[in-house]
């Protein structure tokens, strides 16, 4: 088990290194950098100014040097400076993390607490009207572009309540705090709840066919015990994996949702930074996201091992 963990950690590092190279190269092979954008906004360019600026930002160095410089800094906890705001990138990124984390956490919670029970219900009542209804509803959830769902929520909120949740870093009331996080989290969570439900359902169906379920029935266990005690515990394994993948998915969904709800989290920040070709921010954010995803996957694996004795006591 210990060796397994160490191996996983090692592979994580390899993956992260690969991501750093890919993202770095991807950002730089393309024409146009922050300097072009700054000057494009001005609608004019003085070549001398441009050269100066590129030098100031270190963009004139060979790409390998730039990479080493970045990674070197990263290892020392120095993420460089944002080209746009000229503040340390860390200072820009850090305060945005809790916002996104709260959103993502709520969304996951929402997704799991709705998706899993509904999935079980749907599986247990396979082929019934209820099952059909749940499946259609979840599929329609998956068929709605997420920005559209977000906008619909906002518009509904304005026309029904005359107000809407606009992000406020220091919410004054409880309700406001809940609204500014829970509503967008629901918009993202709806989608993943639908997904979680589907996975739970199919995983349950698979498990319900297993021999040991028949054994449980043969023991005289009640349907509830069979479904929730015997089946769900096994069925939840693939669901955990999916919830892990969901975490990655969620960040994608958050990009859109943070934009729609105007939440200054890291996901939207990434989009803005991309627009500005603000390399230090983009690189580090993408790395951060990758770290989160990789760590979540790691945790999921550990969780898996914790639940599944075959893995816990294997290796």
């Amino acid at each position: 088990m210990f060796a397994y963990i160490v191996r996983r950690l090692f592979l994580m590092l390899v993956t992260l290194f690969g991501i750093s190279v890919i993202i770095f190269v991807l950002l730089r092979i393309v024409p146009g950098n922050i300097v072009d954008i700054l000057f494009a906004a001005a609608g004019y360019v003085d070549p001398a100014d441009k050269v100066n600026l590129e030098r100031d930002l270190g963009l004139n160095q060979p790409i390998v040097m730039q990479y080493l410089h970045w990674i070197g800094g990263l290892l020392h906890g120095d993420l460089g400076y944002s080209y746009v705001s000229e503040k340390p990138a860390l200072e820009e990124i850090l305060p945005r993390i809790p916002i996104t984390a709260r959103l993502a956490g709520l969304a996951l919670l929402f997704s799991a607490s709705i998706g899993i029970p509904l999935g079980v219900i749907s599986a247990v009542h396979q082929g019934s009207k209820l099952d059909y209804a749940l499946r259609v509803v979840s599929l329609s959830g998956l068929s709605l572009p997420s920005f559209w769902l977000g906008l619909l929520i906002l518009m509904a909120s304005v026309s029904l309540f005359g107000t809407m949740p606009i992000f406020n870093p220091n919410p004054t009331t409880w309700i406001e705090a809940l609204a500014i996080y829970a509503v967008p989290a629901m918009a993202v969570g709806f989608r993943s709840a639908a997904l979680t439900m589907r996975i739970t359902r199919s995983s349950m169906l698979e498990i319900l066919r297993q021999d040991y379920i028949r054994t449980a029935r043969a023991k005289g266990a009640s349907e509830a015990s069979v479904n929730y005690h015997h089946a769900l515990k096994n069925a939840v394994l693939p669901v955990i994996t999916v919830v892990g993948i969901e975490a990655a998915f969620l960040i994608g969904g958050l990009i859109v949702t943070e934009t729609v709800f105007n939440i200054p989290g890291i996901a939207r920040f990434l989009v803005e930074a991309l627009r500005w070709r603000d390399y230090p921010i983009v690189q580090n954010l993408v790395m951060f996201i990758a770290v989160v995803v990789v760590v979540v996957n790691f945790i999921v694996d550990m969780l898996y091992a914790a639940i599944d004795p075959r893995i816990r006591f294997g290796d």
Binding site: A3, Y4, V6, R7, F10, D315
Partner: protein, 330 residues
């Protein structure tokens, strides 16, 4: 009893699988799947190989055919050691040895027609194409008791016994001299089993094949084999002429094995198991004689020294320290 030079001669065959673990998936253990197996097989002869699940029967079969690479040892086919031949050098020898697997359902590519499956070896070796190939396949179908018009059917359209016939036809297509049968009837219904066994016997009679016949059903092995080898945890513990072995087993394991077979005679009830416990793990085989952990007659020597196969008379070889290495007489 057989030709002076055996068709197949396996000496000291070893196959170890690495058990990997740790950070770099380094090897942390070894499965001693086959641990020094030697035997010879003459032309037209059938050697039965029995033993409990996981004792390495299939591994022997697959290493002999070089489907997995042996760790060490020699596999001589007609005197030529094929254990270390390169891929291309091996190709002509492949034609001489074919295999029939246990599971006729998994042995056939579900997306190919029966005719294509049987004809494939012919095209791979460039032996026949087009109409000639079809003709040959039809011939093979008849040989194994299938109708040539079934060539265009897919495997799922056949019953288990028929599928095993397709497998046999495929094995026959290259005109092999040795056919390795890895539990060819274990997955079949009893009434079908007899058909396949009869087919194998008939074919051998006609074409003088050699069989390496693996099964865990002692009765089947007894029926089809000339000689029988008993394996336990990667090693052959006893090998003898069939009659000698069944009439006079000398290894306590063979004895236990025979005693465990339920006899289809209600008047001869004997529900007292000869041995307790499970087969030990091939990752950490016990030292000495691997069977000593379950053997009632084990002496101290069994726990430390590994017995080698020793002739106990008339080609009856046994690996047991009892009675000066000639095994336990019953």
């Amino acid at each position: 009893m057989t030709a002076p030079r055996p068709l197949l001669e396996v000496s000291d065959l070893v196959k170890h699988y690495a058990v990997r673990g740790g950070i770099m998936r380094r090897q942390v253990g070894t499965v001693h799947a086959v641990d020094g197996v030697s035997f010879a097989l003459g032309t037209g002869e059938t050697l039965g190989l029995v033993g409990e699940s996981g004792c390495g029967k299939s591994t022997v079969a697959r290493t002999v055919l070089r489907l997995v690479e042996p760790t060490s040892g020699a596999i001589r086919l007609d005197g030529e050691d094929i254990a270390r031949l390169g891929k291309t050098a091996l190709r002509p020898y492949r034609r001489s040895m074919q295999i029939v697997f246990q599971d006729p359902f998994a042995s056939l590519n579900p997306r190919m027609t029966a005719g294509d499956i049987v004809g494939e070896p012919l095209s791979v070796h460039g032996l026949a194409t087009g109409a000639k190939k079809q003709e040959r396949v039809a011939e093979l179908f008849q040989q194994v008791g299938l109708r040539p018009d079934q060539m265009k059917n897919f495997p799922h359209q056949f019953s288990g016994g028929q599928r095993q016939r397709i497998c046999i036809a495929r094995a026959l297509s290259l005109g092999p001299r040795l056919i390795v049968c890895d539990e060819p009837v274990s997955a079949l219904d009893v009434s079908i089993q007899a058909q396949v066994i009869n087919l194998l016997i008939d074919l051998q009679r006609k074409q003088n094949f050699s069989y390496l016949f693996i099964a865990h059903d002692l009765a089947v092995v007894a029926h089809i084999s000339h000689r029988v080898a008993v394996m336990y945890l990667g090693r052959i513990v006893e090998i003898a002429d069939k009659h000698a072995l069944f009439a006079n087993p000398r290894h306590p394991y063979t004895q236990a094995l025979l005693a465990s077979v339920p006899i289809a005679n209600p008047r001869a009830r004997r529900l007292a198991p000869m041995i307790d416990g499970d087969v030990p793990s091939p990752i950490n085989p016990p030292p000495g004689c691997a069977f000593h952990t379950r053997c009632r007659y084990a002496i101290d020597r069994c726990k430390t020294e590994r017995p080698a196969l020793k002739d106990a008379g008339a080609g009856h070889q046994v690996a047991c320290w009892l009675n000066d290495g000639t095994g336990r007489a019953e």
